[in-house]
């Protein structure tokens, strides 16, 4: 029943796919129940957001925005030759484009507020990333990041020391302590056999890593496989398939609307929009609650190539599609009744020194580590969420290495996929891989790391120097997980998705930010200038009043008794300007008679004689004169008796 007058809405198949029903994010039912992202702020960390464009402006949130490339609060993108800085505006449109404004498209969370942090359009350092990830983190709830290290199939990089610290600080202290939600795109390196486990943003436990599927539900040519991918949502595919329609910038060649937004760049903002819908119905979801709900509700679907594997907890994961397709209806209904997951428990194994050779395929090196009940007693960890492995392996050609991890249940994760384009001779140096494929499984048991050399150069020998296992999870037992799965399925009818049903939310924490909404240097300078001008004018005016009062007091009529002010005729009251003071200057009429005043002296207004005509004199001719256009300078009164 949802109709919008936005001209491109009918072409937004990812919102409502009329051509292939079901091949969309299933959001219209959520909108019908007034869940549109109200009260939630999403920030696009990118090359800027053109917030003046008609489709963005009403939802724009300046308090959550900043420009780190130019160091000012306005993240407007700068036009460049390649017409390239439209990226952030397109992502913003996907999230919160305004409906029913007869312009372009509609956002997934069109009731939410959208902010922008411009950081990609200039030199970028670790410290700038750290500032970006926590910028206005009590205002911004969700950070949408459709970027990452190069997807060239030979890069191994991610957040450096400060970026990591900022991500961690964000989930601990952001969003009033419930944790900032970081949504990242898994990467577009599919054609180079890239894998998002070589991207530290994508395989971080603090981020929601989102991949893409095309309109036919298949992995697009550019998508990457990844054991740490949580879920996928729609984006463009090859040339024959439709891409995502969203707002565009209108600078350079931009028209304000595009039908060509694609890549995992387009998928991540759709996920951010759906998470905003979740936070509207349950603002106190923690960053881990959001990840759990995605795992519990993503839908597996038929794709022969996807190689789905169901783990011990009943969750099916594919290296291509994560736990499956995001479904807005399922996400929001689950969020509505979700009670928070217990605290994050973790276990870190000792650094396991191995110094063993990595044999050539089909042989492989297997190393094991047993996690006992005793090991987990301290933390209370029972079931798994993320599992991370930090490895140091020397090898003359890094891309020839293949690393697999087996959880106690036997669930296999290909964490280090071979990459034919990666000829880097430095191997892995304390690089951390991670997997979500064992989510919900028991933590206790034997973990197995299997490494082999799939290269075809005969004499190269890789050495596994050391490795370390880190388990993240909670005190939930497998039974708790099954109960929660059943509870969520019971909520999918939508019976709880109305305003009368609300679970209590604990209050958030009051966490001050480094700098709230600060005044910019330029504004400060302007204020100082205006202030100085005002002070100068005030002093001048007081002096003038004082001097004119003294000259009146020393006039002949005053010495023997009360001063007599010149009368104010009726005509003068309408024509002359009333200013709050005593008369500036007492002028006699040309025939020498002083105008008599019958009434009491009025101090309510300055009597400014209307003697000047257009062009007779201008302030600039008298540098000290104040800026009164009608006042007559003393020298022009030579012919008359000068009273001042």
């Amino acid at each position: 029943s949802m109709h919008f007058n936005d001209p491109k809405y009918p072409m937004q198949w990812h919102l409502n796919n009329r051509r292939s029903p079901g091949r969309d994010i299933n959001v219209t039912g959520v909108w019908e129940r007034n869940v549109t992202g109200r009260g939630v702020t999403v920030v696009v960390v990118d090359d800027g957001v053109e917030h003046t464009i008609q489709d963005i402006a009403p939802n724009y949130c300046p308090e959550g925005s900043y420009d780190l490339n130019s160091n000012d609060p306005d993240p407007m993108p700068h036009p460049d030759e390649e017409n390239g800085n439209h990226h952030g505006t397109r992502c913003a449109g996907e999230i919160a484009a305004v409906p029913n404004n007869s312009f372009c498209a509609v956002g997934v969370a069109y009731g939410s507020r959208i902010a922008g942090i411009r950081v990609l359009d200039g030199p970028l350092t670790d410290s700038m990333e750290a500032v970006a990830f926590n910028k206005h983190y009590q205002i911004n709830d969700i950070y949408s990041c459709s970027w990452g290290p190069d997807d060239d199939g030979k890069t191994v990089d991610g957040p450096h020391q400060l970026g990591k610290a900022a991500l961690q600080h964000g989930v601990i202290a952001g969003r009033q302590g419930f944790g900032s939600i970081f949504v990242v795109a898994s990467g577009n390196g599919g054609q180079h056999n890239d894998n998002c486990n070589y991207d530290g943003y994508a395989n971080s436990i603090y981020t929601v890593t989102i991949g893409a599927v095309d309109e036919e539900g298949r992995m697009p040519f550019y998508a990457e496989e990844c054991a740490s991918m949580l879920a996928v949502t729609f984006s463009g595919g090859d040339k024959m398939l439709r891409s995502i329609v969203t707002t565009d910038w209108d600078l350079q060649k931009g028209t304000g609307c595009t039908e060509g937004h694609t890549g995992t760049s387009a998928a991540a903002p759709l996920a951010a929009g759906m998470i905003a819908l979740m936070l509207q119905v349950r603002p106190c979801l923690t960053w881990r609650d959001v990840q759990h709900i995605i795992v519990f509700t993503a839908t597996q679907y038929e794709d022969r190539h996807a190689d789905w594997l169901t783990n011990e907890a009943g969750f099916s994961h594919s290296h291509q599609h994560g736990f499956g397709l995001l479904n807005a209806w399922r996400l929001v209904n689950a969020a509505k009744i979700w009670t928070s997951v217990p605290y994050l428990a973790s276990y870190v194994s000792p650094v396991l020194k191995e110094n063993k050779a990595v044999p050539q395929s089909p042989h492989s090196l297997e190393v094991l580590w047993n996690v006992s009940r005793m090991d987990l007693e301290m933390s209370g960890l029972k079931t798994l969420e993320h599992v991370a492995v930090t490895v140091s392996i020397t090898h003359p050609r890094r891309g020839s290495l293949e690393v697999k991890l087996f959880c106690p249940s036997g669930m296999m994760s290909l964490i280090g996929a071979p990459r034919s384009m990666d000829s880097d001779p430095s191997g892995f140096n304390d690089w951390t891989f991670s997997t979500v494929r064992c989510w919900g499984e028991r933590a206790k048991g034997v973990y197995k790391l299997v490494i082999r050399d799939v290269g075809n150069e005969p004499l190269q020998v890789g050495i596994l120097r050391q490795w370390q296992l880190t388990l993240y999870g909670s005190v939930w037992s497998p039974v708790d997980i099954r109960d929660r799965q059943r509870l969520l399925e019971s909520a999918m009818s939508g019976e709880y998705l109305h305003d009368d049903f609300t679970l209590p939310c604990p209050p958030g924490l009051k966490i001050p930010e480094e700098d709230g909404y600060t005044i910019t240097p330029n504004t400060l300078k302007t204020l100082v200038l205006v202030g100085c001008f005002t002070i100068f004018w005030t002093i001048y005016y007081m002096l003038e009043v004082y001097l004119s009062q003294r000259s009146v007091a020393s006039a002949p009529g005053c010495r023997s008794g009360p001063c007599r002010w010149p009368p104010r005729s009726r005509r003068s009251r309408e024509e002359w300007t009333e200013l709050e003071s005593v008369p500036l200057c007492n002028s006699k009429d040309l025939d020498g008679t002083e105008t008599e005043s019958g009434g009491p002296p009025t101090t309510s207004g300055l009597l400014v004689p209307d003697l000047l005509h257009e062009g007779d004199w201008s302030p600039s001719q008298n540098k000290n004169a104040p800026d009164f256009p009608h006042q007559r300078p003393p020298e022009l009164l030579q012919g008359e008796e000068q009273i001042c």
Binding site: H87, A132, N134, W147, T155
Partner: protein, 104 residues
Amino acid sequence: LAGTGGTDTQGIGGLSWAVHLDSLEGEQEEESLAQKADAVAQAAGLVNAGRIGELQGHYLFIQPVGHKQAMEVEAMRQQAEAVLARHEAVRWHSEQTLLKRAKR
């Protein structure tokens, strides 16, 4: 500069270091940490550009303004590295380098 987005000016170019200062027990006071940062920056021949975002005890030190010859810049880098490496108040430091990121 602290708290006024000072660290955000860093992207303009020139040498810069991120520094994590040891804060003594109870020395949470931002003021005293900022003063300590100023002192360490001065000792290293740099300027304290303020705290890095919301990260407690993390500061950005940048090269003083003014164009310098390559030789001078290299000398400044070595002096700063030497001072920061030895300074007891510095728990960790890292010269900031450019990161290569791609839109997806």
